[in-house]
Symmetry: C2
Subunit: 254 residues, 2 copies
């Protein structure tokens, strides 16, 4: 709370100064990462002033970042009552997964048509990074990189609205995974990602879609979205109570 993670506030426009909005992006990315890596638990209150102090920027910037995060569904903005990390209900999680199946199918078909050799190479690189993260035991980074893989795939599909939607869906999916996954298995086997890339490279649309759908099934079969997950659900429901008392260190290691 008293420690700023990095000065970051100085050189008001140095570095890659050309683009304003850099500060926004930094704050956004840091909060986003912290949420996906579960350093910020669902339900945690995100005070504008506290965040502003941590990042060394004014509330204006924080507010914009929170607004973006709210748009993507990982943060809930309650009027006059501040922002909290979203804690998706089981029903919301189901809706997200339904939408994702839909979008991933379309993205896969389009990626088979339009993916360039460079993009395929990048995708392979991302799978490598993902594997590294999991082998290092860095589950949070693994979840994030896995999401970035799916986002990259969307970019290969060359459809701007779908990319934007996929970004939102992947964000929420990552949050759901972080919240609901039964911890003992890695959630997104890079092996399936590799097979998918191979099918895309071979321009085999049918196989690629099959693999993707299988992959989707695989992902949510690992989640406790069924009845017996009531305990997890309760935890999510009451997590705001846990936070209002003693916030632990919600932003300690940001």
């Amino acid at each position: 709370m008293n420690e700023q993670l990095q000065p970051l506030k100085k050189q008001p426009r140095a570095g890659k100064a050309g683009r304003s909005g850099t500060q926004d992006d930094i704050v956004y990315a840091h909060i986003f990462e912290a949420i996906l890596e579960q350093r910020l638990a669902p339900g945690t209150k995100l005070s504008e002033e506290a965040l502003g102090e941590i990042f060394g920027v004014s509330r204006t910037i924080i507010r914009r970042a929170l607004s973006r995060l709210a748009h993507e569904g990982v943060v809930l903005l309650r009027p006059n009552r501040g922002a909290v990390v979203a804690s998706p209900s089981v029903e919301e999680a189901r809706q997200v997964f339904l939408a994702r199946r839909l979008v991933e199918r379309a993205i896969t078909e389009l990626a088979v048509q339009h993916a360039t050799a460079e993009e395929i190479a990048e995708l392979r690189q991302m799978v490598d990074d993902e594997r590294d993260s999991f082998s290092r035991g860095d589950r949070g980074a693994g979840i994030r990189l896995s999401g970035e893989f799916h986002l990259k795939l969307a970019e290969a599909a060359k459809n701007a609205p779908l990319i934007s939607f996929q970004r939102s869906l992947v964000s929420q999916t990552s949050l759901i995974i972080a919240q609901y996954e039964s911890g003992n298995r890695s959630h997104c086997s890079y092996d399936e990602h590799t097979q998918l890339i191979n099918a895309i490279e071979a321009r085999n649309a049918e196989l690629a879609v099959d693999l993707m759908m299988h992959h989707m099934n695989h992902i949510d079969s690992k989640l406790n979205l069924d009845e017996e997950s009531a305990s997890d659900d309760l935890h999510a429901v009451f997590s705001h109570l846990l936070q209002t008392k003693k916030p632990g260190r919600p932003v300690a290691k940001l």
Copy 2:
């Protein structure tokens, strides 16, 4: 240019001041409407200060509204250079329509499963309103109401992410229609909407999807997205010149 279109600068905080965000919504809705009804042509610069004066609010509110509009793709936010009404290229329009086909198909299937009797009644009401608008010759309102019909359908599908995506797609579609439609025909025949409602009410998924796909084909068959629409395209490309210069010599640098 120096006229205020309407005072609207109600008493600050009186009235229904209870809900914050009301001002945002008013400003957002007004700009949105103006864009869709082509009172604000694509490429028009949206100065924060000017808008603030017109609506009687500070730049803070305007900025938020513009941010929302940008997120939905009807406004383009250029860093340090202000906001302009988006002028989608033919390629962007194609991408939007591709995404919409995808989403509308899914929405239709889900709506057949989940639409309630009340929602169906509301949909019929909306078609009536739409017909009224067109018969009154109010093309702008008609476009907007037609979009709202499709949005309502998405709500009947009971999937929050899809609703959000559909909102963005419908907004962009409306802008595209306003920009590219060959003016002589109404763009979204309410007749097709009525048939669609009937199929949904009868819980006939196959027919409903067929009708919807037909409807989509119908819509973009009316658009000049082909080669010969180059003139419209040029107009869009250079419309910012028309705005910044005097009307006398709009094509000075050509």
